[in-house]
Every structure is written in C-alpha cells, then in structure tokens.
Symmetry: C2
Subunit: 335 residues, 2 copies
C-alpha cells in the first residue's frame, strides 16, 4: 500500500476520553469556585468533588473535545476513529458505548488501576456559556504506547486535541502520531483547544505547527494568545504566514478561513436560542474536516462546520442530537 | 409532639434509587431484545449489558419513580424527603448529588459490597414512548432496617413506589413504613407503578390498599390490571368502593379523581411535542401530592399534577427542567 492509497477512515482523532457532567449554575457560583467563565481548567479529585457538591442537578453525557468532533464526523456519514485512554469503570463503559454507538472506531483497552476515567464538570450559566472543570484521572496515563498506529496510517486526516499539550508524555505521543501520519502521506490537523492552554505552552504549539501541521483550528482568544496580541487582525496576519490552512472561529461573527493567503468568511448560522455552547468548536471542526476529507470546497466545508456548530449549541450536550447528514442535505450542502 | 403537630416535610417517598440511561431506539430493536413497549421489566447484569451494547448514544440522568416525584414536589417549593438504597460507586454519588441539589432530604449511607447502584436502560422510541429495563443491583438489599423512621413521622404524606412490591423484604418494609406513618397520624399514598408489576402481586396490592392506603395513583392499564377487567369504567367503579382517594391517569385523555364517590375530570395539558414520556406519571403524582399536602382543592391539585406531567414529557429525562412553582404561578394555580 502506498501513501496515496485510498484510506479506510476519513479522520482519526486523539484526545482525552471524557464524560461530561453538565449542570446549571449562576455567575456568582463561578466566582465562588474561582472559575473563569468560558475557560477549561484542570482540577484534582478533591476540587471536582467540592465544585460538584454545590452545583445544580446534572446530566452525564459522553464528551471530550476531539471525541465530540469524531462523533460529528460520523454523524455527517464520515468514517471516523478515536484514540484516548479510559479506566475499567462505569464512566469508561459509558464513554466506550457512546462513541461506538455512533459508529466511531474505538479500540482502547480499559486501564486497570486506581485512577478513574476522566470527567469534566461543565457549569452552564444562564447565557448558555460553559465553564469546564476537568479531572483527568486515567487520561494522565496516555502516552506513545497507547497510539493505534494502523488507525492513524489508515486515516486521511489525523486530528489532535490541543488540551493534551498540558503533559510532556502526551506531547511526545502527539509528535510520534504526527510523524506516523506524515510518513503515510496523511494530513495533520490541530485544534488549539483553549486560550489558557496556549498560554501555558505557546512555544511548543508554535514549534509543532511550524514543523508540519496542515490545518489549525482556533477561536479568537486562542489565536490571539498564540501570537500574543490583543488585536484579531494582527493575529490573522501572523497566522497567514505561519499556517497552511488556518480556520478561525469567532462565535456570533462567524468564521474565517485562511488558505494560501486567500481569505474566506463564513457567516454564523442563526439559531433561535443558545442553550449550551459546549461542543460548538468541536462540532465546527467536525463539519470542516468532513468537508476536507471528502474533497469539498473550503467554503462548503466552512458552511458544514457552521451548521454542525449551530445544531450542537441548540441543546444540552456536546454531541449532535440529530443526524448531521440529514441537516446538511436539507441545506443543499451535500447531496 | 402529637400526631397533629405541624410537619417538617410535605412528602417523604420510598422507592428505588435509580440512575436512568436514556437513549433512542426503533421499534424493531424493542422486539429484538424482547421488551414490551411502555413497560418496565427487571433484567440482570448480563442482559442490561447486552441491551446497552445495541442501543444508540445515551445520557445518564438521575431517576427512579418515587425519587422523580419527590424532585417534583421540591420543584413546586414543597418540602420533600426520599428513602432508597445506593452503593458506594459513581452512580450512587450521581443519584445523591442530584436529589440533594434540588433540595430533597436524602440521608442514605452508601452500602459497600459487590452490587452496584441501580440503573435503568430507558429505550425511547420515535413516538416518545419509553420502555424500561431495570437492573436493581444494590436496591435488592433494601429492607426495613433502611427506613428513616423520623423522616416518615415528620412528613404529612408517606408516598410508596409500587415497584418495590417485587421483593418480599421490601414489601415488609413498606408495611412497617405505612404503620409508622399511620401511628404518627400521617397519610399514606401508593402508586401502582406498572401493570405487569400489579399482575405479579395483585393480592398483596389489594390487601395493602384495603388495610389503609389513603391515596392510590394508577394509570389505566394498572387499575384495569388491579381489578382484572379490560373495561376502564368497571375498574373505576371498583376503585370507587375500595379506595378513599383514587387518582387515575389516562395519558392524553387526562385524569380522573375519585373521592368519596364523587368524580373530578382533569384535562391533559396540551403540549407542542412529546419528546420522552419518562416520568409523566411520577410528575403527575408530584403535583397532586404537593396540592394535597398544602390543603389545595382536589381539582387544583389535579391541575398542578397535569401541569407537571406536561413539563416533563416535553424534554429528555424524568425530572423537571424548569422550576414548577414558576409554571404554576404563571397558570394562576398557586400564588
């Protein structure tokens, strides 16, 4: 098989395998537990238990940024795989069931031991904005040995979740995975995941991107953080020089695709009511990656991305509630 | 303190402490796993795992019939308590968090051992109807020793979930709880829970009701099963003679309250779309019990019941998504 062989999968992603615990809270509670609205922070077992005890009733829904993206790719009818680490516990079984039940290939063997499967307490404020408090648990054991290399070689695109840059072993695994994909002639995509995460690892992110990432997803605060500027246009100019294909999301302002110096603006899809923004960026990436893997024009890919994001913010939970291929057909974006 | 003292709680319920795993399936899948649509059946660990592996992505939300009712009473602003058995595991922590976070008193000590906290796989078909497959786990250990007797004495109404009639130890605990309530001058309410459950224990249900239940909740199939008739009017006539206050729910036909020989008909509250009928009966009971505990007329109590049921079937999950006291005020049912 040569590097240009037809691939079995459109996209394989690597990220934290997380079950989301989603509940509502008011702005005062966020301040009370010291969480910055809209961010993701890592917390330990004691802290997550403290925050949990004070929040409202919750629902548990499988999540994880890259995992949500792959669930989205599958919902468009794409062929998707996921690589992440789970423990041998209820949350591990829930995560595995949910990602497999939407057709995503996931072959992880649960890791036995004392650390539980990752969970993220997601506090949704009345404005629909989500603030995440993630306890990584067993995901801290993820390293190069967990890579499913044949899945990576068989996928047109490898998609990497920036959150994993927080641990050196995971960062090393990322580089190994990207090299594996490159050697097989595949594309590598990266999402910056979080402005604070970029702050913590700016140099590593830039080096990794410049060494061979094909597609970078970032929201406004992430791209500004990457280039240490408070001006969006400055950040976009720098991205234009550094990144082959930069996909910049700007919430209600829509998104901005920069490819070989040319710019495409995609309007945000209007929706009736924002219920929960969890997964907006993840599902945006799903639509875009599906489009690129299927050779669709960048503008169509951006519209699929915008459509998927608008679906996921109209309900609780970070994975699609209705088949995205049906929505895309209704909008005439795919046939 | 005499039996007529002001109570600390409006309603305390006894039931299975269950986390619901709710996902969609088609009619063919129900037939495939041998489940009768609309029913609840008990399954073992192997069977629940088999059914789970074949269903779609799911969300986990705290449930349990009586527990849902108490969450509803609290949502109306009522003072509620719950008695049920949990294990020392994630689902036990989820159940405890959710019921306490809505303000329901719940003092259970997790039981250590090999049995997990109860869970119910709820399969929702495209028509919004739910079919439940319950693995009781640690709830099979519930017996008289788990009764929180002071909570029972301090509550105006004791509410019992008929599902517990499936186990002799639980049935004995019910009788002990009812006696405790009666001695303290409290009311005893019972829900028949499920037509198949009534089939299995008809004689015990009738004996228990005739020995001193004040309020009986039943849907059409349950009351027909209790009196072994296929005719609703026959069943209602028999209920009129046997039961002090019978509250009969008839889905879209509304509900029928029979008290001291007089009948009150309550129309079903029209809603835009039935999303998931899980919890409809439980929330109906919540509204009615809140009304009775607060000395409201039976007709108003029936309207509060109907309002609560209509709210819960408009979304996924068996507990209210918005404060029921606010809805009731908007409708002018409470001030």
């Amino acid at each position: 098989m040569t590097s240009t062989a037809v691939t079995t999968y459109d996209v394989t992603g690597i990220g934290n395998a997380i079950v989301d615990i989603i509940g509502r809270c008011n702005e005062a509670y966020l301040a009370n537990v010291g969480a910055a609205k809209g961010s993701m922070r890592l917390v330990d077992a004691d802290e997550i238990s403290k925050i949990y005890s004070g929040m409202g009733p919750a629902v548990e829904i499988s999540g994880g940024s890259a995992a949500n993206t792959l669930a989205g790719v599958a919902s468009f009818g794409g062929r998707a795989g996921f690589i992440g680490t789970i423990a041998d516990d209820e949350f591990g079984r829930i995560f595995t069931h949910d990602i497999r039940s939407v057709g995503v290939q996931f072959n992880a063997t649960p890791v036995k031991g004392s650390l539980p499967t990752s969970r993220s307490l997601i506090l949704v404020t009345p404005d629909g904005e989500r603030t995440m408090n993630t306890f990584l648990g067993i995901s801290t054991q993820f390293d190069e040995s967990h890579l499913d290399r044949s899945l990576i070689r068989d996928s047109a695109i490898l998609y990497l979740e920036g959150y994993l840059f927080d641990r050196p072993e995971a960062m090393r695994a990322f580089k190994a995975a990207a090299n594996e994909a490159k050697r097989a002639g595949r594309k590598v995509a990266l999402t910056l995941s979080d402005g604070f995460c970029v702050d913590r690892h700016r140099a590593e992110f830039l080096k990794f991107i410049r060494e061979g990432v094909d597609i970078v997803f970032a929201n406004e605060s992430e791209i500004k953080s990457l280039y240490e500027t408070s001006n969006y246009d400055d950040a976009a100019t720098k991205a234009r020089n550094d990144i082959k294909l930069a996909v910049l999301t700007r919430s209600a302002k829509g998104s901005h695709i920069i490819s070989n110096g040319s710019d495409i603006e995609i309007a945000a899809m209007p929706i009736e009511q924002v219920v929960d923004t969890t997964g907006a960026g993840d599902l945006y990436a799903a639509g875009f990656l599906y489009g690129v893997a299927h050779g669709l024009p960048l503008e169509t890919s951006g519209k699929l991305a915008s459509l998927a994001a608008s679906e996921v913010i109209s309900h609780i939970g970070a994975r699609p509630a209705v088949p995205l291929d049906r929505l895309a057909r209704q909008k005439g974006l795919i046939s």
